[in-house]
Amino acid sequence: MASVAADTVSTRPLSHRPWWRGRLVGVGVVVALMVASYRLGVTTDANGVAVARFPWPEELVWNAFPGHLDAFQTWLLDQRNAEDPSIVFALFNGFATLVDSLVSWLDRFLLWLTWVGTAATATLVALRFGGVRAAAWVAGALAAFALMGLWEESMQTVALMLAAVALSLAVGIPVGIAAGLSTRVQRAVTPVLDTMQIVPAFAYLMPVVILFSVGPGAAVVATMIYAIPPAVRITALGIRSVAPNTVEAATSLGATRPQILAKVQLPLARRMLMLGVNQTILFALSMVVIAGLIGGGGLGDLVTSGLYSSPAMAILAGAAIVIVAMALDRATEATASRTDPTRRHLDDSARRTLRFLTVGAAAAAAASVALAKELGAPAAYPEGRSAQEWLLARIQSALDYVQDPARFLFAVTEPLGNAILVHLVQPLQSFLILGPWFTTLAGVTAIALVVSGVRPALTTLAMFVAIGVVGMWEPAMDTFSQVLVATGIAVAIGIALGIAASESALVSRALRPVNDVLQTLPQLVYIIPFVYLMPVSIVPGIVAGVLYAFPVVVRLVERGLRDVAPEAVEAASAFGASRTQLIAKVKVPLAGDAIMLGINQGIIMVLAVVVIGGLVGSGGLGYLVTEGLVRGQFGQGVAASLAILALGIALDRVTQATRQAGKEVLA
C-alpha cells in the first residue's frame, strides 16, 4: 500500500496545476457571499440584542417528530418487556442477556483467579508472546491498578473489553477475510464501515440503550459498532497485501481456495491480522468512558459519575484507563511483530522450544493461581493497602493549584480559553446561528460542490435540510461552529508540525511518542483535565477535540510531504530553490491530497469529541443527547442523535475531495 501511495503522489507531473488552487478561490468566494448576506440577515430586537431575521422557519420543522419518537420508544419498551416478546425482541433480549452474562462471567473469573493469579497469568502470557518489554508494560499496568486502589474497577473494565473485543473480532475477522478475498464484498461493506466510523459514538448511544437497555450488554454493543470497522478493514487489507504472485504460484500448483487461504494468505497476513486486533482493542478502549454512561461500569463509570462530584477520582480513573490502553497497545503490537511467521524463521527445534515455553508458561500461571488460592490471596488487591488516598489528595491539591486565580498557570489558561471563546467561537456561532438559514444552506452546499463534486454536494444539502426538519437547526449550528473552530486550530497545528516533522528528523522523532500517546487515549479522557484547567463551558470540548485530532493531521501531512517524489525536490533544488520555496512551491502543492485527507479525518474526529463535550456543558447537540440519556427525554435525544449523524455525514462529504487517493496515503 505504501508504494501504491507513493506512486499516486509521485507520478503527478510537476506542471500539473494543484487541484486545490481553483477550489480554494471558489471556497473563498462562497464564504465572502455568506458573510455579506449575514450583514443583511441580522437584525436587533427591542432590547438591542442581535437576533436572526431568518431563523430556520417553523413551517419547515416536523414538530410531531419527537412525539412520534417517544411513542415509538413506548412501543419498543412494551414489546421488549412483553410477557411473550416477538422473535426480533427475543433476539435482542437474548443477545443482551448473553453479553451481560459473558461480561460478568469474565469479571468473576478474573476475581476468582485472585489478584496474584491474574497478575501472574497476564504477565506470563505477555512474556511468552510479546517478550520482556510487553511483560513489563503489563506488569506495570497491573501494579498501577493496585497502587491506585482501582483493582476491581479495572478488572470490570478489562472484562468488558475482552468481551467487546472478542465479539468484534468474531464479526470483524470473517467479514474482513471475505472482503479481502472478494472485491464485491469489499465494495458492499465499505460504505457501511464508512458510516460506522463517521457517526460519533454519542449519536448511537440512545438507540442502543433503547434496544438493549442500560447495562454491560448495551455497552458492549456500542463498543462493537465502533470497534468492528478497524477489524474488518485491517483484516481485508492484510489479505489483499499478500503478494499476488505467491497466490498465483500456489494456484499454479493446484492448491484449492481453502488451501490458499489457510497455507498462504492467512500466514502471510498474520502480522496485519494481529495489528488489526491491536487497533480493535484500542478502538474498543476509547469507548470505555462513553460505555460508562450506559451501564458499562468499571473505570468508565468512575469517570462519568465523578466528573463533577469527585473530580480527583475521575482523573485517577482516567489515568488508569490511559494505562490500560498503553499497556494493551504495546503488548499486542509486540506480539504482532514477534509472532510474525515471515520474520521468525522457525526451524523444528525452535518450534519445539516454543511449544515447551508455552506449556511452561501455562504451568507457571496455573501454579501461581493455585498457590495464591492456597495462601488465601484476596480476589482484588485490597484498597486499604493502596496509595489511593494519597494519590487523590495529590490530585486534589494539583486541581486546587491550577484553579487558583492567583497562580501563574491560571493567567495563561484563563485568557487563552476566553480568547478562543470571544474571538473564535462566539463570532462563528452568531454567524451560523443568526445568519439567514438559506444562505448557510446554500453556502455549505456550494462549498461541498466546489471541493468534492456534485454527489457530495447533494448529500450535504440533504443532511442539512434533515437537521432543520428534525428541529435541530440552532443546536446543530452551535455544534458546527465549535467543530469548525477546533478543526481550524487542529489543522493549523497539524500542518505546522507536519511540515516541521517532515523537514527535521529530530522533530519527527520528538513528536512520535506524543502522537502515539494522544492517539491511544480514549476520547473522553482528553476532556477531563481541561474541564478543570479551562473552566469555560465550551472550551474544554474544543481543546480536547484539537488534541484528539491534530496528531492524525501531523501524521498525514508529514507522510504526504515525505512521499513527494525526491526527483521533484532534487530538480527544484538544482534550480536554486530555497528551503522555504521548496516547501511552499513543491512539497505542499504535491502533498495536497494528504493534507486534504488530514482535514477530512480531523473534522470527523473533532466532531466525535466536541459532541462528547455536551457532557461537560458545551451545549449544542451533545448536550441534548446527554439530557436525553440522563433525563430520559427520548424524543429530543434521538432527534439530536440524528442531527449529529447528519452533521457527521455532511462534514465528511464536504471535505472528502480526493478521498480515494487519500485512503491509500492513510494506509
Binding site: 505467491t246 499454479s252 492448491a255
Partner: protein
C-alpha cells in the same frame, strides 16, 4: 528437437484469445477484433492481450515465447493453465482438454502435469526452503515424510541441499529462483512453464541460471515453455521461438529461421544485433554439389554453426562437406561463409 512423426504434441493451443474489459467475449470473431490496440480500447473499452494464438509444443522441446513488455506473452502462458481464463480458443495439455476442464480437473492438471516458475519467485516467506519446495506435494496430500524426502532430492538436483532449513529472505535472488525451479520440479510435471524467470536477476547470475536450465533440460528431458524478453536468452535456450507483438505471434521458427529469414521488419529489427554466424548453420550457406563434383573436403555436421565451421574451412583448401545422417547434403565455400559473416555485421 521438433516432433518426430507419430508423436503427439504435449501442448496444443489453437486460436487462443484473451480480451480484458467489459463483455470481452463479444469481441472475438468480429471485425473489431482486428482493430489496432488503441482503437479497440477507444471503441469498446477492451484490450486484446492475446490475439488468435496457435502453436504446438512437442515432447522434450524448449519452446520460447519472446516479446517486449505488453506483447501478451505472460498473459498467454497464464491462459495455458487458466491462471487467466482465455476468452476464446482451445488448449490441450498432455492430452487433456484444458479449456473445458472442470475446476477439479483443472486442479488435477496443475497438480500433476504442469509446474510453473515465476518472475518474482512467489515463494512463501513463512516457510523454510524445504517446505516451499514440498508445497506442491503438500497440496496434493502427500504425507509429510515422503514429500520432504522428495523435496530434498530436488534440492540436491539444483544444488541447494545445504539451505533446506533456511528461509527465502535469507537467500540471494539467484538462489531464491533456484528454489522456485525446484518447487516446480518437485511435482515431477510433464510440462514446465517459465514466466521470465531470470529477468529480475543480475546478468551474470542470469547466465548461470540459463546453463542450469539447459542442464536440467538435458537431464530430465522435460517439455518447457519459456517466456522472455531477452533475445539472446531465447536463442540460447529455445529449440523454437515464437515472437509476439501486440498479442499475436508474428513469427514462429527455429533460431536460425528467425535470424536467417525474419518474417517482417519488426523481427528483423529484433535480430539485427545478433551475429548471424553464431546462429546460422551450414544449412543456410551451403550449395548443392554439382553433379560429379568431388566430395573429399573436411566433413562437418550440417547443424554446425557458421562460426564453428570457420577454423575448419580456414585450414582446408577444399570446400567443407555438410553431412546429415552420414550423407553429404551440400558444400560450403569460403566466400559463402564470409558473406554470411559480413552481412550479419553490416546489418
Amino acid at each position: 528437437m521438433t516432433g518426430s512423426v507419430g508423436q503427439a504434441p504435449v501442448i496444443r493451443a489453437h486460436g487462443v484469445w484473451k480480451v480484458f474489459g467489459p463483455r470481452a467475449e463479444r469481441i472475438v470473431g468480429t471485425p473489431e477484433a482486428d482493430l489496432p490496440r488503441r482503437e479497440l480500447l477507444e471503441r469498446t473499452g477492451c484490450v486484446a492481450a492475446v490475439r488468435d494464438v496457435s502453436f504446438e509444443v512437442w515432447p522434450g522441446e524448449v519452446f520460447v515465447v519472446m516479446g517486449l513488455s505488453g506483447s501478451g506473452k505472460s498473459t498467454l502462458v497464464r491462459t495455458l493453465i487458466r491462471l487467466i481464463e482465455p476468452t476464446a480458443g482451445e488448449i490441450e495439455i498432455a492430452g487433456r482438454d484444458v479449456t473445458r476442464a472442470s475446476r477439479s480437473e483443472l486442479r488435477a492438471l496443475r497438480r500433476h502435469e504442469v509446474g510453473m516458475v515465476f518472475q518474482h519467485f512467489g515463494l512463501l516467506a513463512h516457510r523454510r526452503v524445504l517446505d516451499n519446495v514440498a508445497f506442491g506435494l503438500e497440496v496434493r496430500g502427500v504425507p509429510k515424510a515422503e514429500r520432504q524426502a522428495r523435496a530434498r532430492e530436488v534440492l540436491r538436483l539444483v544444488g541447494l541441499e545445504d539451505v533446506a532449513d533456511r528461509f527465502p529472505d535469507q537467500l540471494s535472488g539467484g538462489m531464491q529462483q533456484r528454489v522456485g525451479v525446484a518447487r516446480a520440479f518437485a511435482v515431477d510435471p510433464a510440462v514446465l512453464l517459465y514466466d521470465e524467470p531470470f529477468s529480475a536477476l543480475d546478468p551474470l547470475i542470469r547466465r548461470d541460471m540459463q546453463d542450469e536450465i539447459c542442464r536440467l533440460q538435458a537431464e530430465t528431458g522435460k517439455t518447457m515453455i519459456f517466456i522472455t524478453h531477452d533475445l539472446s536468452e531465447a536463442l540460447r535456450l529455445g529449440d523454437r521461438i515464437a515472437i509476439m507483438r501486440d498479442g499475436s505471434i508474428v513469427q514462429l521458427g527455429t533460431p536460425e529461421e528467425l535470424v536467417g529469414s525474419p518474417a517482417d521488419a519488426y523481427v528483423a529489427n529484433f535480430t539485427r544485433d545478433i551475429p548471424r554466424s553464431h546462429v546460422l548453420t551450414l544449412r543456410w550457406v551451403m550449395r548443392k554439389p554439382a553433379p560429379g563434383e568431388e566430395l573429399d573436403g573436411p566433413r562437418l555436421d550440417v547443424r554446425t554453426t557458421v562460426r564453428d565451421a570457420v577454423p575448419v574451412l580456414a585450414a582446408s583448401e577444399k570446400p567443407v562437406c555438410a553431412v546429415e545422417d552420414g550423407r553429404v547434403v551440400g558444400l560450403v565455400e569460403r566466400d559463402a561463409v564470409l558473406r554470411a559473416i559480413a552481412s550479419g555485421d553490416e546489418r
